[in-house]
């Protein structure tokens, strides 16, 4: 069973919920946790872990175009094909903007003089930790200025497959683009998280397009419910039987986080609400 937690909007509580569910699930099942927010991975912090990883490894899941200037005649075929605006002919030589190159290889194919080759770049570090709760967490950090976050998520998921697990919990990043698509691709269930604001609701509907395109069954958790109870009720009514549960807004969560205490290890009201969500989740899975 693979389950992903997603939201569209950032900061609505994905990692808080994912970390809590990991702790609860790990008491009953063998789990592996994947932090798919490779731009800004935070799941380990919610699990109370500092940067003390068991394993850190630089990986290369992307290639980028490199021009051999001695072969380039400046014909511009590469500039024309590049869908990402990453090549420009300057002084009759093709120049690759490394910040924009997606490593698709289209330029390599169209170059009549074989002046372009694709070379591997080290674009991320992956990290693994078997944590104090007894389950492995896989996380990665995209190097600032590099691209390829979707491919890094694919790599994390395939490495997570090598662990013996009953449930893989994937904490998706914000947004709806390639790393979110990579996180949701192939999962059995999705839990969507939102907050009762116009932005939270709008972004929920946007990420739902991705969830629906993969035909993944989903449930909804409304976090910070009492921030705007009227809006919360409106979203709950909209979600119909997809509604799974709610979590109240609590400024003490900030404090728990600051002292690296997982929410499920506190006495905050959110803990009871998450336990209830967990019970509902188990019923849904049966």
């Amino acid at each position: 069973m693979k389950i992903a937690i997603a939201s569209g909007k950032g900061g609505v509580g994905k990692s808080m919920l994912a970390s809590s569910l990991c702790l609860l699930l790990s008491k009953e099942k063998k789990i592996v946790a994947v932090d798919a927010d490779v731009d800004a991975p935070n799941l380990h912090i919610w699990l109370g872990q500092k940067e003390n990883w068991d394993l850190k490894k630089e990986i290369s899941v992307l290639e980028k175009a490199v021009v051999d200037k001695s072969k380039c005649v400046g014909c511009g075929a590469c500039e024309q094909i590049c869908a990402f605006g990453a090549i420009e002919v300057v002084n009759r030589k093709a120049k690759v903007n490394q910040l924009f190159c997606e490593g698709c290889g289209a330029c390599e194919v169209v170059c009549p003089n074989k002046a372009i080759t694709l070379k591997e770049v080290k674009n991320a570090q992956i990290r693994v930790k078997k944590n104090v709760f007894g389950f492995p967490l896989l996380s990665a950090q995209l190097y600032p200025g590099e691209t390829g976050s979707g491919k890094i998520v694919d790599e994390l998921k395939s490495r997570a497959e090598k662990f013996k697990y009953q449930t893989m919990v994937i904490d998706a990043p914000a947004g709806t683009g390639c790393p979110v698509i990579a996180a949701l691709n192939g999962v059995d269930r999705a839990i969507l998280v939102t907050e009762p604001t116009p932005s939270g609701f709008a972004d929920l509907k946007r990420v739902l397009q991705v969830v629906n395109s993969f035909k993944v069954p989903w449930k909804l958790v409304i976090n910070k419910w009492d921030l705007n109870p009227e809006k919360s009720r409106q979203i709950k009514a909209w979600a119909k039987n997809h509604f799974l549960g709610k979590i109240s807004y609590d400024q003490n969560i900030f404090k728990a986080l600051s002292s690296l205490r997982p929410i499920i290890k506190t006495d905050l009201p959110a803990k009871e609400e998450i336990l209830k969500i967990y019970q509902e989740l188990l019923k849904w899975w049966e």
């Binding site: 731009d39 869908a83 997606e102 169209v110 200025g145 604001t197 990420v207 991705v210």
Partner: protein, 277 residues
């Protein structure tokens, strides 16, 4: 009027208040009589229009991209396209024709240039839209938004930004404010490039500190001048944020305390009326 000043608002972490800060800054500049164009380049999840009670109705610009479409009559099932697709968006069922998985396709064009039989045709699809809202006489909002499920949203950011710059010049705006997406990915980089100054918004938690370091690394790499804005400054613990500011010699420009009035204005789409800065 002088040169157009370009300021981006970013943050690495989601939900720290990037859009709120962008709008509060716009309000402050408007109160000084400046002409402001705000560009929402969180194209996957643009929300500034909601915070300003605007509607996105008719796009002023549509952004097209090309995608592969198979002509079965010409296809010999050689599998060259599937083997070479780096997005793994082409699936070759045993004995069958290649299947294009549109959700994973970046529209790079490799497959149709590679196909020896010219069996892959090109289909144009709209992947993004640009909207323009006149919020008030001196305040224009430009929004870039992805249409449907799009793997690669970077080009939408670039096109929306080009359009926004054109409008800013036409209106003779004083300020060009760019609100970016979360993270460090190519959509964020494309939005940040060209800024005279970038405001990195954060919150006083270990998460905020962790992601602030990352976005400051990115801004340094892009050679963009940065300042820090600490939102909800009185919640959590701001020690770590102050440490980052000191270590990196990056000014903590502004601390915004938690405010129920601000949270409510956010949740009701009434940020335009808030003067908090």
């Amino acid at each position: 009027m002088g040169k157009l000043k370009k300021i981006s608002v970013t943050g690495g972490k989601g939900g720290v208040g990037k859009s709120t800060v962008a709008i509060l800054l716009a309000n402050k500049l408007l109160a000084k009589g400046k002409k402001v164009v705000l560009l929402d380049l969180d194209v996957e999840c643009p929300n500034d229009y909601l915070l300003l009670s605007q509607k996105l109705t008719t796009p002023v610009k549509k952004i097209w991209a090309q995608f592969p479409k198979l002509n079965k009559a010409k296809c010999t099932k050689c599998g060259l396209c599937a083997r070479n697709c780096r997005s793994q968006a082409i699936f070759m069922p045993p004995g069958g024709y290649p299947l294009f998985v549109s959700e994973l396709c970046s529209g790079c064009g490799l497959c149709w240039h590679l196909c020896p039989e010219k069996a892959i045709e090109v289909e144009k699809k709209i992947i993004g839209e640009v909207f323009e809202n006149k919020v008030s006489s001196n305040f224009h909002l430009i929004t870039g938004r992805v249409v449907g499920v799009v793997d690669e949203s970077g080009p939408i950011v670039t096109k929306a930004k080009e359009h926004g710059l054109k409008i800013a010049k036409r209106l003779k705006a004083d300020y060009f404010l760019v609100d970016t997406a979360v993270g460090l990915h190519c959509g964020v980089i494309r939005a940040l490039l060209g800024s005279d100054l970038s405001l990195a918004v954060t919150e006083p938690t270990p998460l905020g500190a962790h992601d602030l370091r990352l976005i400051l690394d990115l801004l340094k790499k892009l050679k963009i001048k940065a300042k820090i804005i600490l939102n909800q400054a009185d919640l959590g613990d701001k020690k770590e944020i102050l440490k980052i500011s000191k270590e990196r010699k990056i000014k903590l420009e502004k601390e915004i305390p938690y405010s129920k009035a601000l949270a409510q204005a956010y949740s009701k789409g009434k940020l335009k009326e808030v003067n908090f800065w």
